[in-house]
């Protein structure tokens, strides 16, 4: 059983890529399951179920940070996929919070970014990119080759170890090497651990206290000048 976390900003092409991947996994005799995490709306689960007839689920994070929510539910989601006799769990994140990156230690972490998103994106997105194993660049059909080269160089400058795969996700160009990488990735190993250190999100804002200013809060807080610290018992 392999779990693949697919992160990336909104509309970067995560669904389009995962559809191409699913098509190829099925063709090779694999049994993928699909999970989408989003805040309050997603239709990908029905999309995948209708098109491929595979087990799918979605989880709305609602009031919870979607990526934190992802970490909470992932353990049971892996079990759910196994109970359904699947050998892959493909997880599409909401990708709203660019800081969070719920990749699993030892499993494959993918980040999907658009070639059209501007030359500085790779410098901006931090752990979502730096903790990923593979950076999938989509929409290469829309930019000049010169810009593709600069974009790729910017990714590698930010994270020299990441494997960059360029794709036209609409036509499935560049997807084959990605699928080989998925198939070659290790099975999930218990206990499941989050890769890297997620940002601390434990404060009274998290539980709904709305006052503005750190002096009104407890937990991990920070003033404008200076570092964060723990305030409270």
């Amino acid at each position: 059983m392999k779990a693949v976390i697919c992160a990336g900003p909104p509309t970067s092409g995560k669904t389009t890529i995962l559809k191409q991947v699913t098509k190829r996994l099925l063709r090779n005799g694999h049994r993928p399951a699909y999970l989408k995490i989003d805040v309050q709306y997603a239709d990908e689960d029905t999309l995948f179920a209708d098109e491929f007839g595979i087990p799918t689920r979605k989880v709305y994070s609602g009031e919870l940070c979607p990526d934190h929510c992802n970490v909470m539910v992932l353990g049971e989601a892996v079990e759910w996929a196994m109970e359904n006799d699947c050998d892959f769990l493909l997880v599409e994140t909401a990708g709203l919070c660019l800081r969070c990156s719920p990749y699993i230690e030892g499993s494959l972490g993918l980040v999907v970014i658009e070639a059209t998103s501007g030359m500085n994106l790779p410098r901006k997105i931090g752990p979502m990119l730096s903790l990923a194993d593979v950076a999938i660049v989509t929409k290469i059909d829309l930019v000049s080759q010169a810009e593709r080269e600069v974009f790729r160089a910017r990714i590698l400058e930010a994270v020299p170890t990441v494997r960059v795969i360029e794709t036209d996700a609409l036509y499935g160009i560049g997807v084959d090497p990605l699928v080989s990488r998925l198939i070659a990735s290790p099975d999930v190993a218990y206990p499941l651990y989050l890769r890297g250190n997620p940002p601390v999100g434990t404060c009274t804002i998290c539980v709904g206290k709305k006052e503005i200013g750190w002096k009104q809060h407890f937990g991990v807080v920070r003033p404008l000048e200076g570092d964060m610290f723990y305030r409270g018992e």
Partner: protein, 269 residues
């Protein structure tokens, strides 16, 4: 990678039947045109070449380099990709100034002569455009023609790509004679998708397409090269009339007659 040839193994057309041209090999130094009516699959063919299609595109073609399946890393690392495609839709999306972008690209390509390469690229581009582009212009502010000219210049000078695919150069409003003359000075494979008879007849051969399939490969004959000269005259006539309009002049029957007489198409009065 040293490129000597590109071979295209025919696949199938839009109706699913095998392409009449089952194999065609383009050799280093060749200038090739791809011709055919709108929607017949010209762009699809050059996309197949750019992607090193291996039966994995709708046309089921295979593309070989030097007679062999190209190594996979060619398509992963665009800076090692010997093929540059200048498509009908490519645009610059980056608002970096021209000079900064070109310098960045030259650094990635580890181009020689880094001090002058930006100026060489821009001066190449400016030979193709009407209004010159300026080094401090943001790339997104370039006009369509300037963008196309810079894409070509970048592919030839900085990219130094041995194979260049150009989709409908004529629609970019850039100077075609200059472009062809300039490009002929480089030993590369040039593939033009074109509706322009002059570009087609100045090529070494042309691939004729219909219904998504390669129908024939036609070598340019001696007589066609002579015809190309005539077409050049007609073309130049149109260009010079266009130039006058661009400069704000009026045209008259007399001006047109004068032009035709100069070309020898009308007896002098």
């Amino acid at each position: 990678m040293e490129i000597e040839s590109i071979t295209i193994h025919g696949g199938r057309g839009k109706d699913g039947t095998a392409e009449p041209v089952s194999e065609v090999t383009l050799r280093m130094g060749d200038i090739v045109s791809i011709v055919g009516p709108t929607g017949c699959g010209k762009t699809t063919l050059i996309n197949d070449i750019e992607l090193y299609a291996q039966l994995n595109t709708p046309s089921c073609r295979r593309v070989l380099i030097n007679g062999e399946r190209p190594p996979e890393e060619l398509s992963w690392d665009p800076s090692r990709n010997p093929i540059a495609l200048i498509s009908q839709h490519t645009n610059f999306l980056s608002d970096m100034p021209v000079a900064q972008f070109l310098a960045t690209h030259a650094a990635i390509r580890q181009s020689a002569d880094r001090d002058h390469i930006v100026e060489r690229t821009v001066s190449f581009a400016n030979q193709l455009t009407g209004e010159p582009l300026i080094l401090t212009n943001p790339m997104t502010e370039l006009s369509g023609g300037q963008t196309r000219a810079l894409l070509i210049a970048d592919a030839v000078v900085i990219g130094n790509s041995p194979v260049i695919l150009l989709d409908e150069l004529e629609n970019a409003g850039i100077h075609r004679t200059k472009a062809l003359d300039l490009l002929r000075g480089y030993r590369k494979v040039f593939i033009f998708v074109t509706h322009d008879p002059r570009i087609a007849l100045l090529s070494d051969y042309r691939i004729v397409m219909k219904q998504g399939a390669m129908q024939r490969v036609i070598m340019t004959e001696r007589e066609e090269r002579l015809v190309a000269e005539d077409i050049k005259k007609i073309d130049d006539l149109l260009l010079s009339l266009r130039q006058r309009i661009r400069e704000g002049d009026r045209l008259s029957e007399e001006v047109v007659r004068e032009h035709l007489q100069n070309l020898g198409y009308m007896p002098a009065a």
